[in-house]
Amino acid sequence: MGISNIIFLLLFVGAFVLFALRIKTIIRNIRLGRDINLNNNFAQRLKVMSLVAIGQSKMVVRPVAGIMHILIYVGFIIMNIELLEIIIDGITGTHRVFAFLGGFYNFVIASFEFLGLGVLVACIVFLIRRNIIKLKRFWSAEMTSWPRSDANLILTIEIFLMTAFFTMNATDQVLQSRGVEHYIHAGAFPFSQYYSALFTGLSSETLVMIERSVWWFHICGILFFLNYVPYSKHFHILLAFPNVFYSNLNAKGKFNNMESVTNEVKLMFDPSATPPPADAAPVKFGAKDVQDLTWKQLMDAYSCTECGRCTSNCPANITGKKLSPRKIMMDTRYRLEEVGKNIDKNGAEFNDGKSLLHDFISPEELWACTSCNACVEACPVNIDPLSIIVDLRRNLVMEESNAPSALAGMFTNVENNGAPWQFAQADRLNWANEN
């Protein structure tokens, strides 16, 4: 084992340790949420996950973005098989260790080139859509400089990685054809065979140097990417699967029942019902901060890749209101990260005096929602921004008594005369006798 193999091993292990630590933090943060039991309907959940996450069924609702996304998705997953060879080569000092597979190996390497080209094209198209065509959903208010740079950075890294991959194959071919030691004859290169023409004029020493450099660049790039992803919106590549698995299986129109309220209302209807013990912790109604949301809602926030399909389908947003479902998810994630950092720094009991409601999300945004479920329907990874909007509204109304005055009037009407308008319940059947 040479010095380069040891460096490789250290880099590799180091990158995975860092990655694991970050994942641990994210899991801790998600677990700050309230408990909700979603360990049911395993078969149906598996089906939804296969269709929506693995099968990308909601992505292709928008065909251009959908097909381009599938190119990157399939390319990413399958090309990672080559990572296995790269790791073994890196540790043991071999070159194309799986070459003994012969014709099959050539087929696999050739198909990687097809996939790689697909990824390259899709990334370029995506960059054009974001930065030259400037699609509206990538430039709305919450898409400040960081979310925009995040997206561009990911696409740029992928382009660099693919370029390194093709350069590696191109130089390798020239070296193989010259019979240079170590560069065994292996692989088929449908695209980089043309690219390799660029390198035929160079000396073998230079080529080895280029080939080794791009090999190292490629693997270092992958390890960097691994550690960038969990800090980025790009984390959806991992969370999409569990997030869809645990998605809401009820009818979208069903808002969850608040047990805490049921207990209180039962007491009002039946004074003989058992009141909660006097030392029971006071219940908070609705959500004021991220800890009041469920772990699933927090997982939703980490799964969001800020594509903005929710916002571009939101009737409130389309008509210029302040509400953007994507911003609801981004704010939830920003706040959760902030709370997590506070805990790391100052301990679990620390209170920074801020909250998701008001400091991040304003009542004006919440009251613009028509609860139409367009955002929920549009999300390719089954995120439910509406449930967060409703939980925050519940806090506004039941904890702060902070409803718009027209709605407070509606509440009074429902309470006093059983209708949202000021009509007497005794007149409810008058329509039957009117002409």
């Binding site: 009818a251 949202p420 059947l429």
Partner: protein, 261 residues
């Protein structure tokens, strides 16, 4: 035609058990425009010989707008009161004239002890047609261009897109779809308790955006299945001064008018 609207209390007094309860809803009871939809539904039920009853003065708001606005207390108080009445009459099956009542009764009452088979009036009409209890011919709508606006609480919320469309198609007319339809339909702007408040500050009203989309198809009729959508779409059509050319009807009214009920 005179309509017959028996109440649950009357039925029980006469020793009759209606096969279905017609949940009229607040809009259907009090809103002048929606009352016409209610009557159209009753005419259809009468015509098809369905044994139904209403709660009349014993009906109360389902609590839907309270729940959407975040007032779970008020919602549950309404729900418990209504469930007491419904269970008292041993109601098994309910048809609603409003997708919001439909959604709440169907999806949110079971957690509080109210378990009923709940259907929307478009689903009932579809069943009556399929069972041969209701004959439908094009009548006055034959050859007319109709577009259907999906109510969110019927469509996305409960995945019912076909019942209203299958009824409209029976009328021998041209059903044209807006670009945003079915699962991709655009809200009228009234859901989530917006009906009862001013819209937040923006640069356009949601119903104007939606009416604009519908009017671009040059339809004779915009059909819907929700009293709130009815208000919003009617106002939207008026916004463009098109109320003389383009009528907004509930699917139940299309059937009742086509049959001259």
């Amino acid at each position: 035609m005179e309509i017959k609207v028996p109440t649950m209390a009357e039925c029980i007094a006469d020793g009759e058990v209606p096969e279905i309860l017609f949940w009229v809803g607040c809009a259907g009871s009090f809103d002048d425009r929606a009352k016409k939809i209610t009557k159209a539904i009753v005419k259809i039920l009468n015509k098809a010989g369905v044994k139904f009853a209403v709660l009349g003065t014993e009906e109360s708001c389902t609590g839907d707008p309270a729940k959407r606005a975040g007032n779970e207390f008020l919602f549950q108080m309404q729900a418990f009161t209504n469930i007491q009445v419904l269970n008292g009459y041993e109601v098994k099956k309910i048809v609603t004239g409003c997708p919001h009542c439909f959604n709440t009764l169907k999806n949110e009452y079971p957690d509080l002890g109210g378990n009923y088979e709940v259907i929307h009036h478009t689903q009932l009409i579809q069943q009556l047609i399929n069972d041969g209890k209701l004959k439908v011919e094009g009548g006055s709508f034959k050859g007319k261009k109709i577009t259907f606006h999906d109510p969110c609480y019927l469509g996305r919320a409960n995945n019912e897109y076909e019942a209203p469309r299958s009824i409209i198609e029976k009328l021998d007319n041209e059903l044209t779809e807006m670009k945003r339809s079915r699962a991709n339909g655009l809200c009228c702007g009234a859901g989530g308790a917006q009906m009862f408040k001013e819209a937040e500050h923006g640069d356009k009203e949601v119903n104007v955006e939606r009416a604009e989309e519908a009017l671009a198809l040059n339809p004779n009729v915009i059909a819907t299945g929700c009293p709130f959508c009815m208000t919003m779409m009617t106002d939207g059509v008026k916004h463009f001064n098109k109320e003389a050319e383009v009528k907004v009807y509930d699917v139940a009214e299309l059937i009742a008018n086509a049959q001259d009920l």
